[in-house]
Amino acid sequence: MRTQTYKTNYAELVALTPHASNWAWALMGLLIVACAPLILGSHGLNILSVIFVMAIGILGLNLLTGVTGLISLGHAGFLLIGAYSQAILTTDYHFPAWLAIFASGLVAALASLVVGIPSLRLKGLYLAITTLAFTFIVRHIVLFAENITRGSEGMAVEPLKILGYAIKSDMPFFYVALIMLVFFILITLNIMRSRIGRAWLAVRDHDIAARAMGINLMRYKLLAFMVSAFYTGVAGSLVALQTRYINVDTFSILISIEALAMIIVGGMGRVHGALLGTVLILLLPELLNFSFSIAGDRFTTLMADRIYEIKGLMYGVVILLFLRLEPEGLAGIWRKAKRFWVHWPLSQ
């Protein structure tokens, strides 16, 4: 029987995954997902692409809120900054679209200093309100700076071009989003096992104790904000590349709340939790649609105009259920299921 926790040397402690077999399973999962275009149509690929893109942003939010313990309701603002940076850089400054993706992340990271610096003195609810205000401010700036952003009219976005090939349809974009997600998962796992990741965990668990241990709170909190905003900025640029049209309506405050729901449901502070939470929350409307379709056409028609209201209710119910029954989220369920499987028949 293998153990999950007993480490005999430092290399095991900082390994990217606890067991070599994890790589094989991950690769198999990746191959299965990569084969999705064989069975899914445009709509299915579109949903998966949305999940991949959002998952990048959620990984970023998880680093800030789940790992470092700094609550943010401002990620819709970072997403918006990323999307508009992508649109402006490619349309007005003729940046290559792939380069603009990372530049958008950098712009969002720089903008995060606006909320990052006050975060040094704020915690909990106060920080949440500050970050929420940041989203309002960003939305208004976009509306007012219409010489740059086209105001409420919105902006068309140049498609991503790779080696001269414009990625306009769903299948190539699906692969781009998948590759980007894998890239950011690997970066996240690397950060988590590094000094930075451990310092963030220490700040979350007890910031005064962390400072006593020599962790520079200012540096690590700002870094958490910047890294998180970078992820979300990149996600925003991918949102822009996917829809190829953006305006402020796409980036409502609700997105920040949905994002928090994803990491709560997935399991705060865990990479696979963030991914599972994103998948579950984004598939909720599709699951609802599917349930309605089973009930028949008349019921589907009746419920068609209530899907987002029901979705809003479902968020609340799902979060409540997880907080009450499984505070560790889907990652906790996954861990318990795995332990049950590994320890069977001795599992309890």
Binding site: G41, N46, H140, G151, G154, A304, D305, I307, Y308
Partner: protein, 399 residues
């Protein structure tokens, strides 16, 4: 032996007849979303979120048209059915919804296309799928400039909404010597209204003393209204939506101003009329659809009572008429194709549509023009704040 040959020959004959019948069935071509008994349509509407009032009403109009057509035997024996997708008035969700309708639900055509920017976001998908599409709720000029081969738009450009009330104020309401002003949203939509307003004041040589832009989402108009008072405005055009219009009128009343007011078509939504009623202004509203205050619209409401649920009936407003007209126009294109319903045929028939009558709900609809845009005549209405109602002032007039 001879009997068995005869039996074999008879069998062959029967088989051939069946095969030929099946072949003939296939020969009467039909497209995605069309079966022997049904034609499937799709709509993307903002049925939740800030514009749900519009989306629910638009969907109700389409449901009404479909129920009525089906009650009369469908189109050439085929019933219509529609799938409604809610986009929550978010462009990214509009794209996702239209992809679902085209790819998963495999609809034949689209009749509901949500708001202006949302339609712009969906255009690449619609163009790629070459799917017949009727835009009837938000006639954004960008939709038909450049011309998209399968997209048809019902409604005049927004500048008419600015032009018609000002023209009426000058010609019929004694404002030839008046001082004119406009409040407009500082975006493409507002600028189109401003263009119509400017055209009218220039045409009649009257004084425009205040042209004030405001940012989308503005709630407080006290500074703007104070400027209007300082300039002595006697005739005002409000390029505002429901709650904004009520806020401006409330401020005008507070400052003791009594200008003649005109606004755009959203001004006659029952909610807008009720919100603005306490300020007591009898404002002008241009519209290219007969609404629930118009005799033809009221007649449609009686039909709606028969076919719609209580919820849908309660949502009845000008956008219900919009949804109804969009669907019957598409249905006419399908009907003209006979049994062989294909997207190519419907697009070709819609391209030929000329002076199609909607029974008085609009002026005649024609798509046989370079933009495939039915630039409809406009009717003027005026509010009656005492009864929180609206009355017709003119008939449908082409400008």
């Amino acid at each position: 032996m001879r009997n068995s040959i005869r039996r074999w020959a008879t069998g062959l004959k029967k088989t051939s007849v069946i095969a030929l019948s099946i072949g003939a069935g296939f020969a009467s071509a039909q497209d995605v979303g069309v079966t022997a008994t049904e034609i499937l349509l799709g709509e993307v509407q903002p049925m939740s979120g800030p514009a749900s009032l519009i989306g629910k009403a638009g969907a109700a109009g389409s449901k009404l048209a479909i129920a009525e057509i089906n009650a009369n035997g469908g189109i050439n024996g085929r019933r219509l059915r529609a799938i409604y997708e809610d986009d929550g008035y978010v462009p990214a969700r509009s794209v996702s919804a239209v992809k679902k309708l085209i790819d998963s639900d495999k609809v034949f055509a689209l009749t509901g296309t949500t708001g202006s920017s949302h339609m712009v976001a969906m255009l690449p998908t619609i163009e790629e799928a070459k799917i017949p599409t009727i835009v009837h709720m938000a006639p954004n000029p960008a939709v038909v400039n450049p011309r998209r081969p399968t997209v048809f738009m019902i409604g005049p450009d927004y500048d008419y909404a600015g032009y018609v009330p000002i023209n009426h104020m000058i010609e019929k309401m004694g404002q030839k010597g008046g001082k004119f002003g406009i409040l407009y949203q500082d975006d493409d939509f507002g600028k189109a209204l401003l263009a119509g307003y400017v055209k009218a004041v220039k045409q009649h040589g009257v004084a425009s003393v205040a042209e004030i832009p405001f940012k989308r989402g503005a709630k407080d108009f006290s500074a703007e209204v104070l400027t209007l008072k300082e300039k002595g405005v006697t005739a005002l055009y409000l390029g505002t939506l429901t709650t904004e219009s009520a806020a401006v009128m409330g401020e005008l009343k507070r400052l003791g101003m009594k200008p003649v007011i005109g606004t755009l078509w959203a001004g006659q939504l029952p909610a807008a009329v009720k919100l603005a009623a306490p300020s007591g202004f009898e404002y002008l509203i241009p519209d290219y659809y007969a609404s629930n205050y118009d005799p033809t619209g009221i007649k449609l409401m009686e039909v709606a009572k028969k076919f719609l649920s209580a919820d849908d009936y309660d949502n009845f407003n000008r956008y219900t008429v919009s949804g109804y007209v969009g669907t019957i126009v598409l249905a006419e294109g399908i009907r003209r194709c006979g049994a062989a319903v294909t997207r190519t045929c419907v697009v070709a028939e819609l391209n030929k549509l000329n002076n199609f009558s909607t029974g008085g709900l609009t002026g005649p609809v024609s798509f046989n023009n370079p933009k495939a845009q039915a630039v409809l005549p406009i009717k003027l209405f005026q509010t009656d704040p005492k009864n929180a109602s609206v009355k017709s002032v003119t008939d449908f007039i082409a400008y």
